[in-house]
Amino acid sequence: MRRLIDIVGRIGFISIAMSLAIFVSIPLKFSGPRGGGVGGPLNPNEALTFPEFGAWRLAADESLLVELEVSGSEAAVYVVNGTFPRERPFTERKDFEELIEEGKIQVLHKWNVIGSAQLEYSPPDTPVSAMLFIVNEGRIPLELREYQLSTTSFLLPTGRATAVSQLMLLAGIVMSAPRITKTILKMFAKRAIDR
């Protein structure tokens, strides 16, 4: 019994230590440039003709900074939210527009850009899983002279990490309680004997 209390108590301590590690990581954020993208990665100084677009998936808690400079025609930058049907992979802008018309995706924000611009987007309180699109609005081929996409996001999905951390802390406290009680009782008993 003594050994069982010790072993379970030790597992409890490990559980508490792990929950603290998760808890410490929850507020951590990192920011940096984002590459990749569908229809891309878009290369600066390359013409972004009508059906082409660049798309990036953003996490629910990710804030966004887009710096871009265009020439030729007007660019539209969209932040959209919704479920993209897996059975309908889209490769052209018209697929994207169809999804908006059908209401499968909603436009959260839209900017029209001529020349250079710095766009910032922070997600609303309710979690969204957004996507960013840069599309050509005009008829003349759009030249994306420069673009830099950087995002700031939490290291971990905050909601889930908090839940897991709290659950592990609770489990750890429950498991280590008999061992802590035993140690405290032993300490008092020792003092009583010493007296």
Partner: protein, 281 residues
Amino acid sequence: MADQNLPEMKRGYSRLRALAELLDIDVYTYLRFPAIEFLTSFQLLASLFLSSNALRLVSIGEIESPTSELNGVFIFFVNSSLGLPSFITSMLILTLVGFGVAGEIEKKLSQTILSYPVNRADVYVSKVLTAIGLPVLMFAVSELMAFIIVRPDLLARYAIPIMLAALATLGPLLMFSAILLAVAVKVKRAGISMAVGIAVWFLLAIVVPFSTFLEAPGGPGSLTRMAWLLWPIYPLREHYIAELMLVSFKEALLSLAGHFAAVIALFIGCEKYFTRRFEPT
């Protein structure tokens, strides 16, 4: 009278209780109170950082597709296998086996333990569980926790690749531990065991890149395929991620099975030596 008492004495000795007693002593000696707790937190933190980068950013950098998601999974496992979580675990095992087990033999403490009425195999199992099993288990738990927090959906969607990749990540750690344990038991010196352990660790780390470098133009040849037996995560990654599918599933699975057969053989060989030939003097 003595004959009548013998069966009672036999009944009184429980192998499980003896093993539990040995485990208690070993855990208390090797892993004093905050040691394993601190190291587990560091392992988990390292796994969380890696998983956040690999599982989250890679998959959301582009529209999610099975290839990009699996790519993220394998980036996470390869980085875990060669990166900080594995390094922390290896160093812990190196300390526990090099200083703990070999140090005990060097200081003649194992003479005392082996003079107790306990089975030598139990002593061996207790050492393996404490010095190797616990750190590797903590490593596995950290990886699992990282998945549960960052992308739990992937666990259900790609259960088989993830399970195989996790095994392939744990395998090299177990192989390194088995070699280190064999050296510690044979040379009986803490310093030499540590030095050999570090050398083995570096050799294992460079074997695949070196063989790939030697055979670079023609793709993976026989040398690389032999090196894959030491790091089965590579053939698995090649099978699941490489666009040309140079490695079949059967071959990747055979590499993993061969690797674990070697690990089991090493542990069994070490156990046989410890129980039959080992002299704690």
